[in-house]
Symmetry: C2
């Protein structure tokens, strides 16, 4: 088991990575200051598969732990589920010193974290992420929240957990598609911030897909380190944290127009990175060699799902609606493997043409929405 | 117009108190850094009475201001109204730099403040309180939130505004009952923290009830100063901020069991102070002379509404449910005029008897819930 720290002054917290983290959850919480039985907010499916290990440990150390089960899936990250969590916390007589434990993927982490941020104006919580994506991304950094009918993550808070417990052993039962979706975020982090991790991924990608324990522990630890460093330098995403959004402008928009749940977040980000590479090469921000190297690594995970019925007009609308859009469009470009930069001075019309070109070339959109060239061209760009 | 500052490091903010603050709202927001049209979240009734002055000023300085009207009353401080505010913010294309303006009493301040704390993980906001209670209490300190069906203020955040604009001119249209309800909080603040303000109240109470402008400005400014001092010393209510809860344990419980809206918050607090005085005298924590002096000032506002159908058993249940209740009961006692202390070592059974005695003597409860002595005794205690 490895440990690292997210350095945020008096709100600093540790991240524990490795096999067996779950079995030591109880003693870990006690060491961190938890003094009464916590309430576990668990993804129903995850609770069935791995609940025993976590609950046995928590009950051994802290007594009669309550469990609130929430249904899996992005569409349940809404006010309805949040209200049911508040209701359960009231029923279980949770008070200001009651710790919440978020046990599941990103949806549960965001929901339970936001419940913790707001119930009684804030109670302590820990993240116990069980997907690769949640372990390397959403559980670290304190971004929590829910979706509105009008858009994803429109309501939320910055609220740091007391610890992140990332047990890489649970990744053995993760569906292969989810594993790959998480890997796209690992690849993204390496591309923008760590050439050594990028080289490791190029070398060990097969071992990772085979879920070799040491390889999983290595990539989770290294990716968390990258995110922890960025978050510590810029908790509220004013500037530096924004490079983490490499691939996310198009990625979020694709997720939105295909209806949440059809594309995994990581798959959207993978498409978004490919788009950012093509545009980056076109604008002379990304060297062709680095673009090819990153797109090559993305391709080694196999073909990405193609949401063929996307219209570009709707995709562009979603990009415009994106909350990061403020008058000027900000795009994160890859400067070279291991480094990214934010550009805020792009001409929207030219960006729009490039993105349309990308979407059509990649056969993401099958219908042209302007002009009458229905169907996509066959070329295959970066 | 007078100004004071809530000193919270890089989250410090000014409070403007006096007549004509509303007419200068636009220039004030610009001076504080607001650069685009804000969204005003307004109590429907307040918008009708005083909206013109505020909106003219904001529009003059910042362009096309949008207004979201919310229905008045505590029962609308709920998830339904919150969701409708989020929806309106999305419709008005609010972004991370869009300021919200909370325009109304405590309900609107809490709702709009919580919307500001959570929309896009936090946008700037200012409080423009229009009731005496909101001007001296809820608008200062950053406590925002909503009610759940299970209880009041169970969901919320600590989220400081960029400024508080307390125009004492609007108090001229405040219903007399609301004015008095706010005055109980002013009296509370004086009693726990400022002997000079207490002396002023004893001397000028008639002028205040007649809404003499200089008197209103004086008490709002002084009461805000007290609250600002306590909040700056203890933002998250760990210890010192708790003395502000003098009268609130019983007050909140009374509000809860009578159904929110029947008793004003300030009226509940007035009953709560009287209870805390009686218990304080019984426990030798409050000198009889000071208790009589405070209860005398409270009485000068006239008789308090008596919610006669309260059963003591339900009242006690509500006290136990109160979120401040953690194993041990904490009660705030008046040590002398101008000073209060928190006691956490009381025996619950003995406290319970004293409170029952109080409730029955005061004819708040007409039915005894244990034993068969239906009806209240006629005595009148402190």
């Amino acid at each position: 088991m490895k440990t690292l720290t997210v350095d945020l002054g008096d709100r600093s917290y540790p991240i524990f990575v490795g096999e067996g983290v779950l079995e030591r959850a109880g003693e870990t919480l006690v060491r961190l200051g938890c003094r009464s039985a916590p309430v576990v907010i668990a993804d129903r499916r995850v609770a069935r598969l791995h609940g025993e290990a976590l609950l046995a440990s928590l009950r051994g150390a802290l007594g009669d732990v309550s469990v609130v089960r929430v249904p899996p899936g992005e569409r349940h990250k809404d006010h309805g589920t949040l209200l049911s969590i508040y209701g359960a916390l009231t029923r279980h007589k949770a008070h200001r010193d009651t710790w919440l434990v978020a046990f599941g993927g990103g949806v549960v982490g965001d929901l339970a974290g936001f419940a913790a941020a707001t119930f009684l104006r804030g109670v302590p919580y820990v993240q116990v992420p069980t997907t690769l994506l949640a372990q390397v991304d959403s559980s670290v950094g304190g971004k929590v929240g829910i979706n509105l009918p009008q858009g994803k993550n429109l309501v939320g808070a910055f609220y740091q957990p007391r610890a992140v417990l990332a047990d890489t052993g649970v990744l053995r039962t993760l569906p292969r598609r989810e594993l790959k979706a998480g890997l796209y975020e690992v690849i993204k982090s390496a591309a923008i911030a760590s050439r050594p991790l990028f080289l490791y991924l190029e070398k060990e990608i097969d071992g990772i897909l085979d879920r070799r324990p040491d390889a999983l522990e290595h990539i989770v630890f290294e990716t968390c380190s990258i995110k922890a460093g960025v978050v510590a330098a810029d908790e509220r995403e004013e500037a530096r944290r924004m490079i983490l959004n490499f691939g996310h402008t198009v990625g979020h928009a694709l997720e939105a127009v295909t209806g949440y749940g059809r594309l995994r977040h990581g798959e959207g980000v993978a498409w978004g990175m490919l788009a950012a590479l093509m545009v980056g090469v076109a604008y002379d921000r990304t060297p062709l060699r680095d673009a090819l190297r990153l797109s090559g690594l993305i391709r080694r995970l196999g073909p990405l799902p193609r949401p063929r019925d996307v219209s570009f007009a709707r995709l562009w609308q979603a990009i415009e609606r994106d909350k990061k859009f403020r008058g000027t469009i900000r795009v994160v470009f890859l400067s070279r493997i291991g480094k990214a930069e934010v550009a805020a001075d792009l001409d929207p019309d030219s960006l729009r043409s490039w993105l349309r070109e990308f979407v059509v070339r990649k056969r993401i959109a099958v219908r042209r929405t302007h002009g009458r060239h229905a169907g996509a061209r066959r070329g295959d760009g970066v």
